[in-house]
């Protein structure tokens, strides 16, 4: 026994050494291209790939030990995607038919994604399963997306095909489901591939793990091209010697749009590490950046936190992060402390805090809405807490010693986009006043696929997108003070409160509209999910059984622990229309549990 423990505590040098692979030796695509760089400005995704394919750059995939597993130059991608498109054409599907793909970090996913576009089909990425014991719930989630999108074709690689085969059972729209290998056995249809129109849908992006009401964001080629252009020209100021490294999942907007499509429309090379491999050994991401001299790499704050937690002194000595000029941070509320801790830790490895590039965005606006100014690092504003609560106003801190909140500057909207802050009645607020963040511009989605109800909640007259987030503007820059109450972010994962409530309501003891879920922040900034249930059970055993079951279900579906509170009927506050108010439910919980310092102004009502 003791020997095992000693082995565990010893530095794990063996597993991390970069030894040249004794097997097939692959060379990653170079950083410098033979082609003149064009910074987006294409009319469609396929025309962008046609151009990128003339060069020598492309995508590289690494294994958990940091060895190159496969190399996919844009040139090869174009060729493979076109051949696959001709196989897909054999199904003779109407243009715009949906194709579901379980998106692990693999060349096959990227090839299929582009094959769909060449064939005039609409791909969408589905997540890989990540939680202990999640088999049944994961299959339900897949089925929810397949049904909501009315997908005709569904694909998964060999690791996930059994989940997919379970999920497609009974889904009427599915014509074919299988692996990329099986697709490759189908004949190549020699009919000519037709070009796409900017008004056509480029892809769907699902934003929720709900089994009953999934929401697939519809993004057109025009919206995508518009957002990509803003990101690469104005946000990142991409140059010919740039190179990216990414661990972000391909089924998230930041991973797909930001780190697969944005590099392609600027013809730069990318090095990928699977999300799972990053999560287990985050240093591998930094090693990739250091070794391949990568310049652009994005993360959620949580990813930086993982790196800070796991790094050892010996790692710092072998890393040189001085090449990293754009460390994009987004996808969740940014706490300045997370960035400060990271910069402090990695400055000795050459990391420059000016590389921090906070930004704000959401899948409903393709990806990015605002970018802070590049090369200026993370800037924040300290505001007086009392004025913030009492007057919903951000007043700059006048004197030391007063309770303060610090918010990160997320910068300005991309060209052609407008951000405004409105109050509860939709009236525009002046600078420094805190309210709902609305966005208008060409990157905004056309709606949620096949879901007019959710679409009308999000898209306001004049095509203003209600982001559901709360913030203020100062000198034209956006500061986010709170995210919507309908999304809870735990360890970097966005979880919709509604999805948790739905799980609870599926239990026989819980009636609909008698469950409310929200997040509570601990002193260290960690978020705990609280699920309050109105419960008629009196037997302690039955109550305990319900509590345990709910905790287990939430874990299996979302991979997080939660606190379950059973309260008497009519405890949860309702609006005049009988709807539960999560905001009020949260305030009530805080008062019951005496966590009064959590009472909050920053999150407004539900969208």
């Amino acid at each position: 026994m003791s020997s095992t423990i000693i082995k565990l505590n010893a530095p794990l040098t063996q597993a991390f050494d970069f030894q040249p692979s004794s097997e097939l030796h692959l060379t990653p695509t170079p950083t410098l291209n033979t082609l003149v760089q064009q910074l987006a400005g294409f009319d469609t995704l396929t025309s962008a790939l046609e151009y990128a394919a003339k060069g020598v750059t492309g995508y590289n995939f690494y294994d958990a030990k940091g060895n190159v597993r496969s190399v996919l130059p844009y040139k090869t991608l174009r060729q493979n995607a076109r051949t696959l498109a001709q196989r897909l054409s054999g199904f003779d599907l109407p243009r715009g038919s949906r194709v579901a793909i379980i998106a692990d970090t693999s060349p096959e996913f990227v090839e299929l994604f582009f094959a769909c576009r060449y064939a005039g089909l609409v791909p969408f990425a589905m997540p890989v399963p990540v939680n202990l014991g999640s088999h049944v719930i994961y299959v339900q989630q897949l089925r929810g997306m397949l049904e909501s999108s009315q997908a005709s074709i569904a694909l998964a690689n060999i690791d996930y095909i059994n989940f997919l085969e379970e999920a497609v059972i009974g889904v009427a729209s599915i014509r074919w489901a299988g692996t990329p290998g099986k697709l490759n056995e189908l004949p190549v249809n020699d009919s000519e591939l037709q070009s796409n129109h900017p008004d056509e849908t480029a892809y769907l992006q699902f934003t929720s793990g709900s089994t009953r009401t999934p929401r697939g964001v519809v993004i057109t080629e025009r919206a995508l091209m518009c957002n990509l252009q803003g990101i690469v020209r104005n946000g990142l100021e991409i140059k010919p010697d740039d190179r990216s490294a990414s661990w972000l999942p391909f089924y998230h907007d930041m991973g797909l749009v930001g780190l697969v499509l944005a590099p392609m429309v600027t013809q730069i090379s990318v090095d990928y590490l699977a999300t799972r491999d990053f999560a287990i050994r985050p240093m591998q991401w930094l090693r990739l950046i250091s070794r391949n001299r990568c310049t652009v790499a994005f993360s959620q704050p949580f990813g930086l936190k993982l790196c800070t937690l796991r790094v050892r002194e010996s790692d710092l000595k072998e890393l040189d992060l001085s090449c990293w000029r754009a460390a994009g941070i987004g996808a969740e509320m940014i706490r300045p402390d997370t960035l400060r801790n990271f910069a402090e830790k990695f400055s000795s490895a050459g990391f420059d805090a000016n590389a921090f590039l906070p930004c704000y965005g959401l899948a409903e606006s393709t990806l990015a809405v605002t970018f802070s100014k590049i090369n200026t690092g993370c800037n924040s504003l300290q505001v007086d807490s009392k004025t913030l609560i009492d007057k919903k106003m951000a007043a700059r801190l006048q004197a030391d010693g007063r309770k303060q909140n610090e918010f990160v500057n997320c910068g300005r909207p991309l060209p052609g986009h407008i951000v405004k802050i409105v109050d509860e009645d939709g009236h525009q607020l002046s600078e420094m006043m805190v309210g709902s963040v609305l966005v208008q511009g060409d990157s905004v989605m056309t709606g949620y696929y096949n879901n007019p109800e959710e679409t009308s909640k999000a898209l306001k007259p004049g095509n203003w997108l209600d982001t559901g987030d709360i913030g203020f503007l100062f000198e034209g820059d956006l500061f986010i003070t709170g995210r919507r109450t309908d999304v809870i972010i735990v360890n970097g994962r966005n979880i919709r409160a509604q999805d948790i409530e739905e799980l609870a309501e599926q239990q026989p003891e819980v009636r609909s509209r008698e469950a409310s879920a929200f997040g509570i922040n601990g002193e260290d900034g960690a978020t705990t999910i609280v699920l309050v249930i109105e419960c008629r059970l009196t037997s302690p055993t039955e109550r305990q059984s319900l509590t345990t079951r709910l905790q287990q279900l939430v874990y299996m579906a979302f991979g997080v622990n939660c606190v379950v509170e059973l309260v008497p009927p009519h405890t949860l506050p309702r609006t005049s229309s009988g709807k539960l108010s999560r905001f009020a439910a949260r305030q009530g919980y805080i008062q019951r549990t005496k966590l009064v310092d959590q009472l909050s102004f920053v999150e407004s009502g539900d969208r």
Binding site: A15, N131, R493
Partner: protein, 85 residues
């Protein structure tokens, strides 16, 4: 040989789990990782890293979807260990 391997895996899992979680839960093969030990995602990743390094294996993430108890995790590790060596 195989038998002792399995015991070694179980022992390591129980030891590591009792370090990762509250000391007041006695860890047994039937202990449920989710609702008895509250293994959150960070603890889970730590545990997987330690198992992978200790046994020189790679645990595919899709296989964890059918794991809920300590025994099921030990069975999985054992199965991977046998097929990879």
């Amino acid at each position: 040989m195989t038998e002792s391997n399995y015991d070694e895996i179980m022992k390591l899992l129980c030891d590591r789990l009792s370090d990762l979680t509250n000391a007041d839960v006695l860890i047994a093969p039937e202990t449920n990782l989710i609702n008895q030990l509250s293994i959150d995602s960070i603890k889970l990743l730590n545990l997987i890293m330690e198992i992978e390094d200790a046994f020189d294996i790679s645990i595919p993430i899709n296989a964890l979807t059918d794991v809920q108890t300590v025994r099921e995790l030990a069975d999985l590790v054992h199965k991977i260990k046998i097929t990879s060596s």
